[in-house]
Amino acid sequence: MKTFRMFRFVFCLVVLGFAASAGPLAAQNLEEKVHARTLKNGMAVLLVERHGAPVFSTIYGFKVGSVDEVPGITGTAHLFEHMAFKGTPRIGTTDFAKEKPIMDEIDRVGREWSLELVKGDRADKDKLARLRADLSKLEAEQQKYIVKDEIDVIYSNVGGTGLNAGTGTDQTMYIISLPSNQLELFCLVESERIRNTVLREFYTERSVIQEERKQTTEASPARLLSEMFMGAAFIAHPYNHSVVGWASDINSVTLEEAQAFKSKYYTPNNCVLAIAGDIDPEKAWPLIEKYFGDIPRGEDPPVLRTVEPKQLGERRVRYEFDAEPQLMIGYHKPNFPAKDDAAASVLASILSSGRTSRLYKDLVQDKQLALNVFAGAGSPGARYPNLFTFNASPRFPHTVDEVEKAILDHVEKVKNEPVSERELQKVKNSLEAQYIRSMSSNMGLAMTLCRYQLLFGDWKLYLKYKDTLAAITAQDVMNFAKTTLTAENRTVAQLIKKAKTS
């Protein structure tokens, strides 16, 4: 009955959940159910009561993701997320006072080793070997004090499930679900982690992430294509690199750099906590105040200055790989809460949501050019202007060029003819149902509320966005298509099956 999970992962695409055109009743219900507070240190907390089974789900996130990284330290937000499971001065050790000096030494040797390693072919091999040996000796010394993966052990013992975390372009989120009698334990463990993560076993974990990159990106045709596509679509803005980061950076980032990155962004004033399930807010608030309330407020995180310049002409990527062909197309567009973002969401739905959508009906069902085709309105993130995208897999013997042309024909059509009222109504009906379904799971609900509060500053925007979406007209969709889906604003990436090698 068990399913196996991959732990501590990268959110590959953050597609911002549609909010909804819900009936007034449902919206009001949620407004009554959510208890929101901001602690004195700036940490926002959302509690939702759902008294079904005696369990609750929690998610807390920091507004930091790969978009906050600069060249040289790509992948650090994700790397730090892994390190956040290694414990604190109290958890994960038998004697922190003895462990600390060894860690300082590991930090020093590890930095020297990493800086040599990054030289690649020009590195001094003897020096590398000597430093690696020193590092291993120190790591063995530290192991005497380490209590392995103690956070996992603590939560396992009380029946916690789904302990995990994910890093995206925009945010880093930590999740766990617990039986409802474990709220204080949750507050204690997580406030410990936020206060003071100890970066134990840093260089081993760096090696895990090298394998993660190979497994999830380098061996995956779709992810590799996406990495190259984003790199072409964004020439300046940091949405241009993948969340897992470049191999060279993963191989050379130091413990000190990871620590510095953490202190900048892991502050209560850059954090939102959401808990949904069988909790009593009257009893929960004092616990939350007690454990999280006195975490010292930090500086405001730095402001990202780089703005992606206007695209002046089509960009194309084409590469060969040992896999069947795939295609990505993208156009720069404004992000939430711009009206064009809402129009884009509606259009994406009309184009590819379900078997009655335009692209499915035409490309998959009738002409049978493609195995699948998807349109999306929120890649690769939502905090900054993003992309309207198409992903498709041609069906043999049809080629990526044929599929590309067929998609572009549909793009031209939406520029010239208004979408039908029935199509618009179908999107609205589906958003309403989606809104109701979003309240059917503790974790789903906590995640949605946390994301709106974290990325846009107010969970209620989840409710308000429905008005924006409900008001989108056929003319709005056409305007969006005309201004945005232009040839000079387009990036295309094609994966071609590698010609036979011996």
């Binding site: 009955m1 399913t3 009380v158 081993t204």
Partner: protein
């Protein structure tokens, strides 16, 4: 100067105070004291039978205005006649897409999507599933369409062609991801290609299927007396009964016989199957046959799996291969249950660092041998028991989940009180039981290995692990294309 100094002292004072406060709240979780008692009552679906023998399972859920249906028919790919591999899957797909006697598939799509409802159908090894859900206000229409699809499918030729072409394209793409290739080959090798558990549909077998095959498949398997139907959501049991009786009541019974399926035979002999592929890691599955469903040793095995290769970082494989050595992003495995009386598979799978591949596999074998040679530690058995017992409540988190869990336990022949006795059964398991289970159900010398990767990147030749048999991926792909 003085002023500044006093400000600084004040600031220090504040920092000191906040540290003291922090220290008061922050402590090790073991010093937290016992948690309040957890009050929890198990809930079960109600059952009723329709006039024509359909067995129904009902769970009321008034929280949101939603209703869902989950129907299961016994049957599936295990029972496919030789030469008709892929029939169950194709029939399951076209049952839904091909429309009914009175409505085309496109008309059904249009109607369902306009009201944000869905009906989906697919076939697995032993069951065909048809699920549906809608808002409460649209339930009458949902259940009408749902019943029409199940009772009167038309299997229109255009949708058969579409599903066939889509399946063929998916087959072309099943060679794209190295770990998926390893899984596919492992399944074939561990059961043997002649076994209904080990064979896979091929483009040739898909191309040979006809509309008559699909209609015959439907006639043979979809019958009220072979139907188990769950219904969950915002309605009363009386309403559920009335709606289902109205939709399905006139469907006549008919005889359904599933052919006997030959049980898998153990052939694992330690062979290493190596499929060369230019990819950065060593992708591996290793193992041999496992245990049947509902085995008397199931709880011993469950705890053994949890300690050796379960989903948590507390498991030995994850702790050693990932956390201690950094050789992989993830490694999981255990002795698995099969289908009914048929044995499942013991398997461990991982994508391993190529430059330490052989070392990593030897480490895995060492972990298995240690599970056999020595009892697990007190901490391991207590953590894994606590985890299974205290997380038991999550099996009842969601009403729909309670319903489908109950249905699958029932259909798979588990005892009526399986859930009621689960916690006691886990409590009873001893360290000696776990060691016995490790000895009885795992044999590292017999395990076959399927390796997909570039052995030039490996630390040592694969032959240091045993007898290597090459698998030519290009030839396999070409052979599929040729037909």
């Amino acid at each position: 100067m003085t002023k500044r100094k006093s400000v600084r002292i004040l600031a220090l004072g504040l920092v000191g105070a906040s540290l003291a406060l922090a220290a008061a709240a922050q402590k090790h979780p073991r010093d937290l004291g016992p948690a309040p008692e957890l009050k929890f009552k198990m809930t079960k679906p109600a059952m009723f039978t329709l006039s024509n023998g359909i067995q129904c399972f009902f769970m009321e859920d008034k929280e949101l205005p939603l209703i869902s249906l989950e129907g299961l028919f016994k049957g599936g790919s295990l029972y496919e006649p030789a030469g008709k591999s892929g029939l169950a899957a194709l029939a399951g797909q076209v049952l839904r897409s091909g429309g009914t006697k009175t409505l085309t598939g496109d008309q059904i799509n249009e109607e369902l999507e306009f009201i944000a409802a869905s009906i989906e159908s697919y076939s697995g090894r032993r069951y065909m599933t048809v699920s549906g859900d809608s808002l409460k206000k649209d339930f009458d229409r949902l259940v009408t369409l749902y019943a029409d699809i199940i009772m009167n499918p038309e299997f229109r030729q255009d949708k058969i062609d579409l599903a066939r072409n889509q399946t063929l394209e998916s087959m072309r793409r099943r060679w794209d991801q190295p770990m998926q290739v390893a899984g596919m080959l492992f399944n074939e090798k561990v059961y043997g290609p002649g076994s209904p558990f080990g064979r896979r549909a091929t483009p040739a077998s898909i191309q040979a299927l006809t509309r008559e095959d699909l209609i015959a498949f439907h006639n043979a398997n979809y019958a009220p007396n072979n139907f188990y139907l769950g219904i969950c959501g915002d309605l009363t049991m009386a309403e559920a009964k009335a709606a289902l009786e109205k939709a399905f009541g006139k469907w006549p019974k008919k005889k359904v016989t599933l052919p006997e399926v030959a049980s898998p035979v153990e052939t694992a002999d330690g062979t290493i199957y190596h499929a060369a592929k230019d990819t950065p890691q060593g992708n591996v599955y290793m193992g041999h046959l496992g245990i049947p469903q509902n085995s008397p040793d199931q709880f011993k095995v469950e705890l053994m799996n949890e300690i050796m290769g379960g989903g948590s970082f507390t498991a030995r494989l994850m702790k050693e291969l990932r956390s201690n050595r950094g050789l992989t992003y993830g490694i999981y495995g255990g002795v698995g249950e099969g289908s009914g009386k048929h044995r499942g598979v013991f398997q461990i799978g991982s994508q391993l660092k190529a430059a330490k591949f052989v070392e990593a596999v030897e480490t895995v074998k060492g972990i298995i041998k240690d599970m056999q040679a020595n009892p697990v530690t007190d901490e391991e058995i207590s953590t894994s028991k606590n985890s299974l017992i205290n997380s038991f409540v999550f099996r009842f988190e969601d009403k729909g989940q309670i319903l489908s869990q109950y249905m699958s336990l029932k259909l798979d022949g588990y005892p009526e009180n399986y859930l009621e006795t689960y916690i006691d059964n886990i409590r009873k398991v001893t360290k000696a039981d776990i060691q016995d289970a490790a000895r009885k159900y795992m044999d590292p010398a017999k395990m076959i290995l399927v390796v997909v990767g570039d052995d030039k990147l490996f630390d040592k030749p694969l032959s240091t692990l045993g007898k290597v048999v090459p698998v030519d991926l290009k030839a396999l792909q070409e052979a599929e294309k040729a037909k």
